[in-house]
Symmetry: C2
């Protein structure tokens, strides 16, 4: 194929009273667990930051070291370690309990504080006159998991998010390995929660999600396969811990009984592990970093891949094309999704 | 020129630790008061909603009917009628006083309520346990002006925002006339404040802003010229009323002493009346409707047009390429503006 691939494709239009007002573009990659690229939107080699969609992989050092057994982690615990949670009382209590199991307190968290993403929890907290704490940070589960990994691996927990910290070096190694890249090929920046975040091509992230979807079809070692299986199983079993009430990520996993496991990242990123009927990994970037059209675009991609049944699509319909309302609650328009996933030549499907 | 014009051009990149993470596109038109297109970004014939950037023109029925004299409007009053204000105590008190001059109360406003856009005012209001009112709505000045126009023109004020209301029909007529279009060519939708909002090409909006910049160079009638002069003068004289503390729109007008008058609209819209050294009108749309890169793009366009002095650009530098920080206040990156305004052939400059 010598035709140049445009960096981004149009994915959604914001419509007001039937007329277009704003436009969103995106790029996506769809890859098999064997590492074959099978579909794309825009340029699948586009590199960007994976942000919170890296969380299932950031949990690997803990799980590989036997952390699930050592700290008696339930699926809900492991799911919360992979979460961008809503900061509900259920989430924060469980993070506090996780910290305690390693002898830590919320003061050990280096994620910073922000009001709960869950609106009802945020309103309740504000009404109580209580300032948000690090426990409410949507990444506090990930940070608790990192601290537990330090405890287990006997690493200094004081500066556990420094890019040079052995734990972060280990995470970078896992991210590279699952992506089929060398660590030196991955860019590192500081995430919203101050932990390292990773810059790599969409196709490489899709390959990692494909490994999460069906680890046994990859060439990874048995321990890594088992750890990935454990993580994806936990997320699918406790979807309410991975995001929060009413959120798309939670509802996607709940609607599919964990057969399709999704994880959002900031700035319009989304990763999906489709465990069946055909195992696939998907990575999506909304170019402008916005999130209002993202869930609908994910659904459109999954529909075109045949990854969701009609009943599942119907169950998730409210996320497909959100309606827009104004300050008096009057309907002003909607977001119309328009995704044309391009199939890549399966025979020639190049390894990513 | 047979070369197709891309709908949008890249205007900004969101960078994290030196690597690109998200991308913004936009389109813009630059037009003279005589109606000649002189520069563009992407496709200047792109049509979208002008949103709050229509406010200076929505004030025309009031001003043309002698409202400024009848209600003894100071520049600050007229500026507030053209504003997307911050809902500060200064703004809300002045809107309440405007309403009272026409025998109205805040209960007559149909804009709905939202928390003040000005963060400090929003925090104070919340701390006082007071819910936001219609006075705090950023459009309450515009709505007060519409009610005053109804009083002056003896129109029923009960449903003053209905698209079929004679006041709204009059406003649509003015918007069309200034844009060089027929009213039937303009799409109408419902704005965030429930008033009608207008869908028309960027070049047509730029032409309207050029008329605001230098009304006497247009072929408009003398009364309209005088009304536009009055409006742009008021905005330039009371920039703190048009937006609010620290906001780009207020600072742009303050930095230029009212020589450059700007007005933002929701969904990434911006209109500018450059009154000198060369009078021009500018209309800009950020494709995705986002606002984080908009001020920087406006500054880049004005710089390339020679519309701002070095001292003015230095004064506004903090708006040019915003720095980004995370939940712990640590610098994570910045928004890098990259605007390549294309000059259009001045000799062949087509009338818009």
């Amino acid at each position: 194929m010598s035709r140049p691939v445009p960096l981004f494709a149009r994915v959604a239009t914001v419509v007001r009273n039937g007329l277009p007002e704003s436009w969103h573009c995106g790029a996506a990659a769809v890859v098999t667990p064997e590492g074959r690229a099978v579909a794309r939107l825009g340029d699948p080699s586009l590199a960007t930051y994976v942000r919170s969609a890296a969380k299932p992989f950031q949990a690997l050092p803990l799980v590989l070291a036997g952390g699930a057994e050592r700290f008696a982690l339930a699926s809900a615990d492991l799911a919360l370690i992979c979460a961008s949670h809503g900061g509900t009382p259920e989430h924060t209590a469980r993070v506090a309990a996780l910290l305690a199991r390693g002898g830590f307190t919320p003061a050990d968290l280096l994620c910073g504080a922000h009001p709960p993403m869950d609106r009802e929890s945020a309103v309740r907290l504000a009404a109580a006159g209580a300032p948000p704490t690090a426990l409410h940070n949507n990444c506090s589960g990930k940070h608790a998991g990192m601290l537990l990994a330090c405890r287990l691996l006997d690493l200094a927990p004081a500066d556990y998010i420094a890019p040079s910290h052995p734990l972060q070096q280990s995470i970078l190694g896992h991210v590279a390995r699952l992506a089929g890249l060398r660590a030196e090929e991955i860019g590192v920046g500081m995430d919203g929660c101050s932990a390292p975040t990773f810059h790599l091509p969409l196709a490489a992230v899709a390959r990692s999600y494909a490994a999460l979807a069906h680890a046994h079809a990859t060439g990874l070692d048995g321990a890594t396969q088992a750890a990935l299986e454990r993580i994806v199983h936990a997320m699918g079993e406790a979807p309410e811990m991975v995001a929060g009430p009413g959120r798309f990520t939670t509802r996607l996993m709940a609607a599919t009984g964990g057969r399709v496991v999704g994880k959002e990242g900031a700035e319009g990123f989304y990763g999906v592990a489709v465990r069946g009927p055909v195992a696939l990994g998907v990575a999506l970037k909304i170019a402008d970093g916005g999130e209002r059209c993202r869930d609908g675009v994910v659904l459109a991609i999954l529909r075109q891949l045949g990854a969701l049944s009609g009943a599942e699509l119907a169950d998730l319909a409210e996320h497909a094309e959100p309606r827009l309302f104004n300050h008096r609650g009057m309907r002003t328009g909607e977001i119309v999704t328009d995704v044309q996933l391009e199939e890549m030549d399966l025979m020639a499907g190049e390894e990513v």
